[in-house]
């Protein structure tokens, strides 16, 4: 063999090796903890070595995550023999990245999920999460003790639990929010305001006196409140809240929705609603300027304080619906254990500790005491300048009722949360989760038909007299009837099984 040839083959081999290595990196870059946790499992048998759990979390990646997790690991290593590595994925990317990570079978242990991010029910059905019923009874005693039973019951998918819901506000209640400065300026009172129609005199006054203010701030996500429980979020099938026969209806066929749409169109025509509401992504610009009078929001205890602080001007609110526990409210924030996890028991032990141990919970939430924050003797948190490097979404990290109070919170904040939760009544479909597998082509077609007019109708941009019949026809052509029949079948079976 000539020496050039030898060199060539060595060169070829090394290029091949580099390429293989690079392509393998493509797979592993996202979960380079796979190998380390794999190693950990190998040595876990001698019970000395702690197990490393990889935890996927929604939220803007924070600079100090690794630093804080190091502290967390020191704490959990002593307590339950695990260390924690957290990977944060930004809000907008979470859904897609997690779907890819799951579909490719990446090695993950704990994952954040919710009804609005990396859809809990869908992915539970697709096999992404491990069922945790046995784990909960064995290692999760603390969780079942602190959680309202509605959380555990409501987050069942096909009779099994796959996720640990965060202990937080349980019922969802829609309110009208008002910019208090404008209320005072126009000497208006919000007493007696509840329905969409009852807003009219207020909107009229504001429109007349403050021409540069938007009387009713509405964006493309707006939906007028109607007393129905939706089968799928923003999908036109629903059951009326007091309908004990559990009949699924097309929301556009209901008198309540028809009336609401007519009123919205009247408001739109009168100029109470932004002209381009149907394509407006969010209301945050308007909220920043304060040039709005009223809007619709979902509340929780002390929400007025939170809103007022974050906008920088006073907000007051008044309910437009009862406080009810929906599937959505139960599944607002959950931690699940990956079906591919090699340390399911340890992961559950960690979740149990996270939801019951204030020291751990606050460390995960606010960082290292003395570096990121200080605590007053009364249990109030004081953020230090470093806290900007560790600003986490509190609601997404488990039991919020263990966290320190924010300045301005009443001392009995969490008692009031508990009282609010106890007062909440279950909505009609709580615990029922539609399985769309057999009608997924119809759902895809109906989605497209629906999206074409949903926002224009809901925001009042178009005249429902003209567009509603067209909309209903298009939905039916796309196969809404078939989905409705399938859903009714599933609901009837669920009703019979649960003795409703």
């Amino acid at each position: 063999m000539s020496s050039t040839r030898k060199k060539l083959s060595i060169g070829l081999a090394s290029i091949l090796a580099v390429m293989l290595f690079l392509s393998a990196c493509g797979n592993n870059a996202s979960n380079n903890n796979a190998s380390s946790s794999g190693n950990a499992s190998g040595s876990a048998s001698n019970s000395e070595e702690p197990v490393e759990l990889s935890w996927y979390m929604v939220g803007t990646p924070q600079k100090d995550v690794d630093k804080v997790m190091e502290e967390v690991s020191k704490y959990t290593k002593d307590k339950i023999g695990v260390t924690v590595k957290m990977t944060m994925i930004d809000w907008g990317d979470y859904n897609q990245k997690m779907q890819v990570l799951t579909a490719s079978g990446a090695d993950m242990d704990i994952m954040f999920t919710a009804s609005w991010a990396f859809d809990y029910v869908q992915n539970a059905r697709k096999g992404a999460f491990a069922p945790i019923d046995d784990l909960l009874t064995q290692y999760g005693k603390g969780i079942t003790d602190i959680l309202d039973p509605a959380f555990i019951e409501g987050s069942k998918v096909d009779g099994k639990n796959y996720g640990v819901p965060a202990n937080k506000e349980l019922p969802a209640q829609e309110v009208w929010r008002f910019n208090k400065n404008l209320l005072d300026e126009n000497k208006l009172s919000i007493d007696g305001v509840r329905t969409l129609e009852s807003l009219e005199p207020l909107l009229k006054t504001v429109k007349a006196n403050n021409p540069d203010v938007i009387p009713l701030q509405v964006d493309k996500n707006f939906m007028p409140y109607t007393p129905y429980d939706y089968l799928i979020e923003k999908f036109p099938l629903a059951v009326k809240l007091d309908d004990t026969s559990y009949k699924i209806v097309n929301i556009f066929d209901t008198p309540e929705m028809k009336q609401a749409l007519a009123t919205m169109h009247k408001y739109y025509a009168a100029g109470y609603v932004p002209t381009e509401a149907a394509t407006l992504e969010s209301s945050s610009d308007v909220q920043a300027t304060g040039k709005w009078f009223a809007d619709k929001a979902t509340t929780q205890p002390f929400a007025d304080n939170v809103w007022s602080t974050s906008y920088g001007y006073p907000i007051v609110s008044t309910p437009q619906s009862d406080a009810l526990i929906y599937n959505l409210s139960v599944m607002g924030s959950m931690q699940t254990i990956s079906a591919n996890s090699k340390h399911k028991e340890k992961a559950m032990e960690f979740l149990n500790l996270l939801n019951t141990d204030p020291a751990l919970r606050n460390m995960v939430d606010s960082g290292i005491e003395g570096t990121h924050y200080n605590v007053t003797p009364e249990g109030y948190i004081e953020n230090l300048p470093e806290s900007k490097n560790y600003d986490m979404p509190t609601f997404a990290l488990g039991n919020v009722m263990l966290t320190y109070l924010n300045p301005g919170d009443p001392a009995d904040k969490w008692e009031q949360f508990k009282a609010y939760n106890d007062a909440g009544k279950p909505a009609i479909l709580l615990g029922f989760n539609f399985d769309p597998t057999s009608v997924s082509s119809e759902i895809a077609a109906v989605q497209n038909a629906k999206e074409a007019f949903w926002a224009p109708l809901m925001t009042g941009t178009v005249d429902p007299d003209k567009y509603l019949p067209q909309a209903i026809k298009k939905l039916n052509d796309a196969g809404l009837g078939k989905i409705q029949a399938e859903a009714q079948k599933q609901i009837d079976a669920w009703k019979a099984a649960n003795g409703k």
Binding site: L8, T275, A278, P436, N448, E451
Partner: protein, 311 residues
């Protein structure tokens, strides 16, 4: 044995060239050919069970069920029509304008100025559709858009662009051309620069004017490149630019009739259920039609001029 011997000989003789091709070959194997195995997912109901491969193997076969949602309603006609027509217009007008621009740029005497224009035209190519969407919005917004402000000052009624489908075929074509023209004309400009200058000198001596030079030298010399780029574009005729049809139109429901294309249809349809099998099916369908179209149009090109064909 003999062929093998010849292969080894060929290999040995061309080893330097083959080595140069190697990185690209590996790239194609890893990122184009290996992933092709994934197309089986379009015939399966994909469910996670262990790793990626075992998930594929364990998922249930469903035949052509995953393709159904593409063809089940009258939207099937609208999305196919929109995707095809827009792409045909893009290819045709894009070609004419890019070549025209390239010729104009090459004829500008002041080379410094020509570079300026070229860079200016190239710049939009690097912007993301989200940003282009906001540019368009600053022109077309009802309350604050520049177009409506000008219309008002001239005494016209303002237009709600985002709920008037009739303007959008033009807006979309204009925005697309604005964004892509610079890039395409640079490609042709490079080709023009490569044309042998002696051809033009000979033509000038023969008394040909500028127009005659362009028609008889520049355009014929560009034809092979135009054919190849057009053939490649035809291969992607069933793919619509998602950002253009989703971001620039602000996902406005009232415009779907003229803005819903295959890619946006798939996105809207599957964002609730997230069925991987169905999105793979849509991708396979688009590639398959593109493949057939490329083969056919290449065949047609071959009939006329063998040298201009791709293969």
């Amino acid at each position: 044995m003999k062929t093998l011997g010849r292969f080894a000989k060929d290999f040995n003789r061309n080893k330097a060239l083959l080595l140069m091709v190697l990185p690209a070959t590996l790239w194609f194997i890893f990122f184009s050919y290996l992933p092709m195995l994934g197309t089986v997912i379009s015939f399966k109901e994909y469910r996670v069970k262990g790793g990626f491969l075992s998930s594929i193997i364990n998922s249930k076969w469903v035949g052509f069920d995953n393709f159904k949602f593409l063809f089940s309603t009258d939207d099937a006609f609208i999305i196919t029509r929109n995707t095809l027509l827009y792409n045909i217009v893009f290819i045709f007008i894009g070609l004419v304008l890019a070549v025209a621009m390239a010729i104009v740029l090459s004829e500008i005497a002041n080379k410094k100025l020509a570079k300026w224009y070229q860079t200016g035209m190239f710049l939009p190519y690097f912007l993301s559709w989200v940003i282009v969407g906001y540019f368009a919005y600053s022109f077309l917004s009802f309350d604050r858009g520049m177009v409506n402000k000008i219309a008002l000052s001239l005494g016209f009624d303002p237009v709600q662009f985002y709920s008037e489908p009739k303007y959008w075929p033009f807006i979309i074509v204009i925005v697309f051309l604005w964004k892509s023209l610079g890039y395409n004309s640079v490609v042709y400009l490079a080709a023009i620069m490569g044309i042998d200058k002696s051809l033009y000198e000979a033509a000038m001596i023969d008394g040909a004017n500028k127009w005659q030079q362009i028609r008889n030298i520049t355009l014929p010399m560009l034809t092979p490149l135009m054919t190849i780029l057009t053939l490649l574009a035809i291969g992607r005729i069933f793919y619509a630019d998602f950002g253009l049809f989703y971001q620039v139109t602000r996902d406005s429901g009232t415009l779907y009739e003229v803005t819903n294309v295959i890619d946006t249809y798939v996105y809207r349809g599957l964002k609730t259920t997230g069925e991987i099998g169905m999105s793979t099916a849509a991708g396979l369908y688009q590639s398959f039609v593109g493949f057939v179209l490329v083969i056919t149009s290449n065949y047609v090109v071959r009939k006329f001029n063998k040298d201009n064909a791709l293969f």
